[in-house]
Amino acid sequence: MMDDLIRIEHLTKIYERGEVLALNDVSFTVKRGEFLVLLGLSGSGKSTLLRCINRLIEPTAGTIVFDGIDVTRASSRQLRQIRRRMAMIFQQFNLVKRSTVLTNVLSGRLGYVSPAASAIHKFSKQDIDMAMADLDRVGIPEQAYKRADELSGGQQQRVGIARALMQQPDLLMADEPVSALDPATSHSVMQHLETMNREDGVTVIASLHFLSLARRYGTRILALKDGEIVFEGLPTEIDEAKFKEIYGEEAEEVEVR
């Protein structure tokens, strides 16, 4: 099907060291333009799933097809070309703390630029203009020449988003993007993701902890428990019973406004 951006079939990941089955025969598809939210407890396999998609973690078995290309069989050269089309943002922002904000944003371009120029930190005028424009878009143009660790958490995550924007991606994967942020900042970050999704047509897969955020931003929800899919459907379909199934009997729903 042409409107499937990602098709995942029988994806399994076993961590050899701890003999842990992190993903157990997971299959689903993501359509173009979707905002898919992954729900589940810590350790349910959300991060592993996201990292398998761009092969930061090598899956044990199964296939991942991205826009018609088999990611799991890609050579390292092909993989780089696939990776630059799928951006990723992280819970801990994963910025290079001692580098400037601008350098961090520009590093999102590394998949495109000529290797020799990048070795001496040389970027083209267009790339730098683009980086400034992206920083402007996430609302922190004045921070460009500061060191990344001088910024607040919310600002750092926005740098992460700007870095993702630099890739001009088809897919954005967000691994608990707001878990380290306060509620107000969370919404501002989520809104940036929403804009990317609605206006640039970037497909988004985001793992979230709060059901309220998932209901507010997601167009579809996928819930994992112990490495298996336990729910797949629209945000409105999650009721009390489903919630307890995903999070366990003792869970209470917490609102983030």
Partner: protein, 438 residues
């Protein structure tokens, strides 16, 4: 992963898996054996010192009759097994292993006895377990009846909480105290420490102390002595500083690229990466274990006795090894998050190094390099002892003139003062710079 789920599919364990389980157990036992060997040796040595036996010779070496060796070796084996089964041996503690009965209860006395007996057989039969097809953790004699061996890290959450006891009430505390005590006692005897002698012979070196603290700076800047080949303290001091400077800078330049080859996280986990990593680390360790003064012996013969080039070369090679190892460890300690993020953008591996690793390691690299410069300056002052050039040349020249020159010790004093001042100044500078970077 909070809730690990065991894979239910029956896995066949490879020989490597079995070895991985066996290795800590074997290492733990070897460690126990070695530590009991040390205790036995120490006790025999001390027995000999206080109550004369025949088994330790004049040089403090164990000289047993032919039948004695097997007896001692077997005895240490027995002791290791006893401590394994009945106490908590040092080895098991260090390797994070614990002997427990069913349901993680402490093993009963009968289980301990069984294990003790089984251990005797196990030493010979254990290797067979490598080829059998039992699940891991069920190696020979490691069963319900003789107590099981667990890795503490894996069962930490299931263990009943234990109230921490005072260190002198625990087996581990007593072991450490006992070994430390034995070591101190042995050391005292073996190194012939004699405080009485220190007091009695205080007059012998009195005049030297007097001369050293009244240094004579005749040769501070004067460049030629009566024989026409002695240079000034200032001259040799410059030689020393630049010797150390050259060795540190060029050593750091060479060590920088090598350090990435010696870092596990950069080299990846494939066979080629592992080979290069192991090779690099071996070279670093081998080169580092040769003190620069020993290398200077070689280079002094090579490029000429007293030639500062010899000293610079020796320090250079030692610096590569020392910095290479320290640098590699820094590379291994970087935050993996940014590397992951940069790899995810489609960057090549070396781009990840340039954009993700290098910014993170620069401060510690600079700090280590300055620290190494510090060490090199101090090494450069004594490397002349074997003909490596530098200020030490002057120091040992004057020391050898004792008896011929009236003020030889005063001159030595002057050289020492110069060394102290320079080392102190450079130490201060490097400390300030490190503070600034950190």
């Amino acid at each position: 992963m909070k809730k690990p789920k065991k894979s239910k599919s029956a896995r066949r364990y490879s020989l490597l898996d079995r070895l991985a389980v066996l290795r800590p157990r074997l290492s733990a036992f070897m460690l126990d054996w070695a530590s009991w060997g040390y205790v036995v040796y120490g006790v025999m040595y001390l027995l000999n010192k206080y109550w004369y036996l025949r088994y330790v010779n004049f040089y403090g070496r164990l000289t047993l009759p032919a039948w004695g060796w097997p007896v001692v070796i077997l005895a240490t084996f027995e002791l290791a097994m006893l401590s394994h089964a009945f106490g908590q041996s040092i080895g098991l503690n260090l390797f994070g292993l614990k002997l427990l009965g069913s349901e993680y209860a402490p093993p009963r006395m009968s289980q301990r006895l069984r294990r003790y007996v089984a251990l005797h057989l196990k030493l010979f039969l254990q290797p067979l377990a490598l080829f059998g097809d039992r699940p891991l953790g069920m190696l020979l004699h490691d069963g319900e009846r003789a107590g099981c061996m667990f890795q503490v890290a894996k069962i930490k959450d299931d263990l009943p909480p234990e109230k921490p006891r005072k260190w002198y009430l625990t087996y581990r505390g007593l072991c450490v105290a006992g070994l430390l005590g034995l070591t101190f006692w042995l050391g005292w005897k073996i190194t012939a420490i004699n405080l009485q002698m220190l007091v009695d012979r205080v007059g012998k070196s009195g005049h030297i102390w007097h001369d050293l603290v009244t240094p004579s700076f005749t040769y501070l800047t004067e460049s030629v002595n009566e024989r026409g080949h002695l240079y000034s303290i200032t001259y040799y001091m410059m030689e020393t500083i630049f010797m150390a400077f050259f060795a540190t800078v060029s050593g750091a330049i060479v060590a920088f690229p090598l350090s990435f080859l010696g870092a596990r996280n950069i080299m990846g986990f494939n066979a080629v990466g592992w080979l290069i990593y192991t090779l690099m680390r071996t070279v670093f360790n081998a080169l580092r274990s040769i003190e620069s003064i020993l290398m200077a012996v070689l280079f002094a013969v090579w490029v000429g006795f007293g030639n500062p080039f010899a000293g610079a070369l020796a320090l250079f090679f030692h610096t590569i090894a020392a910095l290479g190892k320290l640098y590699s460890e820094q590379v291994e300690a970087v935050d993996p998050g940014p590397l992951e993020a940069i790899a995810a953008t489609g960057a090549r591996r070396w781009q990840v190094v340039i954009y993700g690793v290098i910014p993170q390691i620069i401060p510690s690299y600079l700090a280590f390099t300055l620290y190494r410069w510090d060490i090199n300056i101090r090494m450069a002052t004594v490397i002349a002892l074997v003909g490596g050039g530098g200020i030490g040349t002057l120091l040992f020249y004057f020391k050898n003139e004792v008896g011929r020159l009236d003020d030889a010790w005063n001159q030595v004093g002057a050289v020492i003062v110069a060394i102290v001042i320079i080392v102190w100044i450079l130490d201060y500078i490097s400390a300030r710079v490190r503070e600034k970077i950190g």
